[in-house]
Symmetry: C2
């Protein structure tokens, strides 16, 4: 995971914000997370992915796509669906998913 | 900061995703952050706020508003603008802001 935020893309594009609280059950979690990060990047409309987690606190993951069709394909991927199911069963205490169209964005970089 | 994700609201609503990498300069940062969290919550269209930071890594903050007018008022707030200016000068190595309209959302809670 890079420390750099994903850049601002040309609007409109799509983002999915997944904010979550974890359970104490970590069995299989890091492996599945790594696999999902690898898989989502193969989506033809994939733009970027970023994630942060406060230790013992909230995790926020954002995935960026060119359009809703790309996100739909990712949502319907069978291996992804199995991971979502296991997430509900084992790994997440609670989560919220917000799917949105980005209308405006900009970036700042100190030495950019 | 609660460990619970903000809930799913009735679409459409607006969210601003602020992902960032920090500098080593923390002078005044926690105080200003706390002040901004306090201030944004007084916005009439404020729905919620959540934040996560991987130690030494990326921070992601998401603010949720009822509509774009509410977000515009927050963006134009003079004390907020001063904080943004100081953020560029001192606290952030880089950041990206994505402003979007949420079209779909759902939540999950283990005991909900």
């Amino acid at each position: 995971m890079s420390i750099q935020p994903v850049p601002a893309f040309e609007p409109p594009y799509v983002m999915a914000v997944f904010s979550n609280a974890r359970t104490d059950d970590a069995s299989g979690y890091p492996e599945t997370l790594a696999r999902m990060e690898e898989m989502v990047a193969t989506n033809p409309g994939y733009l970027g992915y970023e994630s942060a987690r406060t230790p013992g606190g909230l995790g926020i993951t954002v995935a960026y796509f060119r359009d809703h069709e790309s996100l739909t394909a990712w949502r319907e991927d069978l291996e992804h669906r199995a991971a979502i199911k296991q997430g509900r069963a084992d790994w997440y205490e609670s989560y919220t998913l917000h799917v949105a169209t980005v209308e405006r964005s900009h970036g700042f970089a100190r030495n950019g």
